[in-house]
């Protein structure tokens, strides 16, 4: 595997590879990065490692464009977060930023140039109504107005229907826990809230604790149904693991213990396994074996390897191994039964299928 890894994967393992690049190599690298939606991140990494000197002028057009795009993006996300603070000021609703917005506002170096579409927030369930009302008064409206959709989200899911700002069109996903209520894994979200960390000098906005950030990133990626952004999710995990393992004493033991406490052994197992296999994330030997119950074994483990090693590659046809589309489809089906048990899922899918499609 390491020898025939796609060019983009090799790049993130070792960015120095570009120093021997020919123009044709840049062509392929940029296309794979565009497909995986990580071109700005690649651009920042090249700059940080002082490797831009080897890029031809025509390549710089795209690298500079990607950097400008993500800087503009960063500015607008920070403004949205500012507006969220404004909306919730004085309402005693601590708001926890998740994923992309959290990495950005916490200024984590690996996430420079990360682009994402929605801002994800976590709010305690009993404060959800207050938060929704305050956001509504400040222009964020619920986007799924259909009664069935509303009920689907509110009764079964772990988040409100997406809220869209009426003027700026920004989309917020407001979660109250990190997995659907109907999922088989049941992490206790009060434990997450107990450990939240304030973002520098901002009394309203928090992030999860570093350990919980890793676990949430893993949970999100390995419950995901659409893998266009799978590789990007894996890069997040790799970045989080490298950064926190260097900063936190006894990181691996604490991480594995916390996964057991939150009922998240399985996503952590996948995260460590594939981050190491694909991006060569340094993980002390024997750590993965210490993860407790619930991890796949034997044939299941082999099948999951076959699926994830395909689906987590960059989303570009040049990276697709034999069976990649089938693997993505099977994981899409899997994501649905992870989300709800069959006795709820089947009626839900029937209902969705029979509903007349809205005219756009």
């Amino acid at each position: 595997m390491p020898h025939n890894a796609p060019m983009l994967v090799q790049f993130f393992r070792n960015p120095e590879t570009v120093s021997v690049f020919k123009r044709g190599d840049w062509d392929l690298l940029l296309r794979q990065a565009q497909g995986a939606d990580v071109l700005p991140r690649l651009s920042f990494l090249l700059r940080e490692k002082d490797l831009l000197g080897s890029a031809p002028e025509q390549v710089m057009v795209h690298l500079d464009s990607a950097r400008n795009l993500s800087e503009g993006y960063e500015r607008s996300v920070k403004w949205e977060v500012n507006r969220i603070c404004h909306a919730l000021r004085g309402r005693d609703v601590p708001v926890i930023l998740l994923k992309g917005a959290a990495y950005m506002l916490a200024e984590m170096p690996f996430a420079r140039g990360r682009v994402f579409s929605d801002i994800d927030l976590l709010v305690e369930r009993q404060k959800l109504d207050t938060a929704e009302r305050a956001l509504f008064l400040n222009g964020w409206l619920s986007s799924h107005l259909d009664e069935y959709d509303q009920r689907y989200y509110r009764q079964w899911m772990h988040e409100l229907p997406p809220l869209k700002h009426m003027k700026r069109r920004s989309v917020l996903d407001v979660h109250h826990t990190i997995l659907p209520l109907t999922a088989s894994l049941k992490p206790d979200s009060s434990k997450l809230f107990a450990d939240i960390v304030p973002l520098q000098d901002n009394p309203y906005i928090f992030t999860l604790s570093p350990i919980d950030m890793v676990l949430h990133s893993a949970t999100h990626l390995f419950h995901e149904g659409e893998f266009e952004h799978g590789f990007r999710g894996l890069l997040d995990l790799d970045g989080l693991l490298r950064q926190f393992s260097a900063e936190i004493d006894d990181f691996w033991t604490v991480l594995i213990g916390r996964a057991a406490e939150l009922d998240l052994n399985k996503p952590l197992y996948y995260a460590l396994r594939y981050s190491h296999k694909i991006l060569l994330t340094p993980i002390p030997s024997g750590s993965i074996e210490k993860i407790g119950d619930g991890v796949p074994k034997g044939l299941t483990a082999k099948l999951m390897d076959a699926l994830f090693m395909r689906a987590l590659q960059p989303y570009h046809y040049s990276c697709d191994k034999f069976g990649a589309s089938l693997a993505r489809w099977l994981l899409f089906v899997r994501s649905h039964y992870l989300r709800m048990p069959f006795y709820l899922l089947i009626p839900h899918l029937l209902k969705k299928a029979m509903k007349p499609k809205k005219q756009l």
Partner: protein, 267 residues
């Protein structure tokens, strides 16, 4: 349309990997369609096969306006004379493409009929000369105005009505790396039967309207603001309405003569 452009079979780096293909399945044969691919992804819904060429042009515009952010991109036609660029922003129906096509056939060099690319470093305009899009009545207008212009077959019933494209003169293609200094920002308006008017516009007003016509101003923010102000600083700005193409062209020729006179006096 593209006969004068160089083909680079030896090149191994491309800005965009695009193709137009007939989709698989029934629609390959029954009322055939065409699909635009960027590196095998499809940003648009397929169109009737007859609209393949307009789709290529729209697709290329989409590629540039969504992926190129190392320059400020403005939705405006732009032509050049004596080194100065005449920038013509305008909403659909303002007649900017017609005006652009007529200017290109009257001694002005085409930089672009749709995308004005402003360098963030020095505010100069980078050319992107591609076939000029003509819609509905303006196809006939240009045929009449310059009978020698090479105009493509017309695709009817597109989302923008009937669409044809005008070939770019060879010399303009050959000079496609020659940048230009912004000289004028003119907001055109075609009003049937109206007399020609050219009203000076304050720099502040022109600046705001140029920003409104920009694709990536909000992304570039401060850098974008600096680029816009460079354009506005070096340009004379006008509101312009016209109904007769010949009059419009001679008005712009006068502006160009005035400017080169000024710059000669200055040296």
């Amino acid at each position: 349309m593209y006969a004068d452009y160089s083909v680079e079979p030896e090149s191994d780096f491309f800005d965009f990997h695009i193709s137009l293909e007939k989709p698989m399945g029934v629609r390959r044969w029954v009322r055939p369609q065409v699909q635009f691919y960027v590196d095998r992804l499809t940003p648009f819904k397929p169109l009737p096969l007859d609209q393949a060429f307009p789709m290529l042009e729209w697709g290329l515009n989409w590629c540039v306006s969504t992926r190129i952010n190392n320059q400020l991109t403005i939705h405006a036609a732009v032509v050049e004379k004596n080194g100065y660029a005449l920038i013509l922003p305008g909403d659909p129906g303002s007649g900017k493409s017609t005006l652009c096509a007529a200017l290109v056939n009257s001694g002005w060099r085409l930089l672009s009929d749709e995308l004005t690319m402003v360098s963030l470093a020095d505010g100069r305009i980078f050319p992107l000369p591609r076939p000029v899009s003509l819609k509905n009545e303006s196809i006939k207008v240009i045929q009449r105005f310059s009978p020698d212009a090479v105009i493509s077959r017309i695709s009817h019933d597109t989302s923008k009505g009937s669409v044809a494209h005008m070939r770019v003169p060879t010399e303009h293609v050959d000079r496609s790396t020659e940048t230009a200094i912004p000289g004028w920002v003119v907001f055109p308006k075609y009003i049937a039967g109206s007399p020609l008017t050219l009203e000076p516009l304050s720099k502040g007003q022109a600046c705001i309207r140029l920003i409104e016509n920009s694709f990536n101003y909000s992304i570039l923010s401060e850098k974008g603001f600096e680029a816009v102000t460079k354009v506005i600083d070096s340009s004379d700005c006008f509101d312009f309405s016209y109904s007769v193409l010949d009059d419009a062209i001679s008005e712009f020729d006068d502006l160009a003569a005035l400017k080169s006179g000024e710059s000669q006096n200055a040296t």
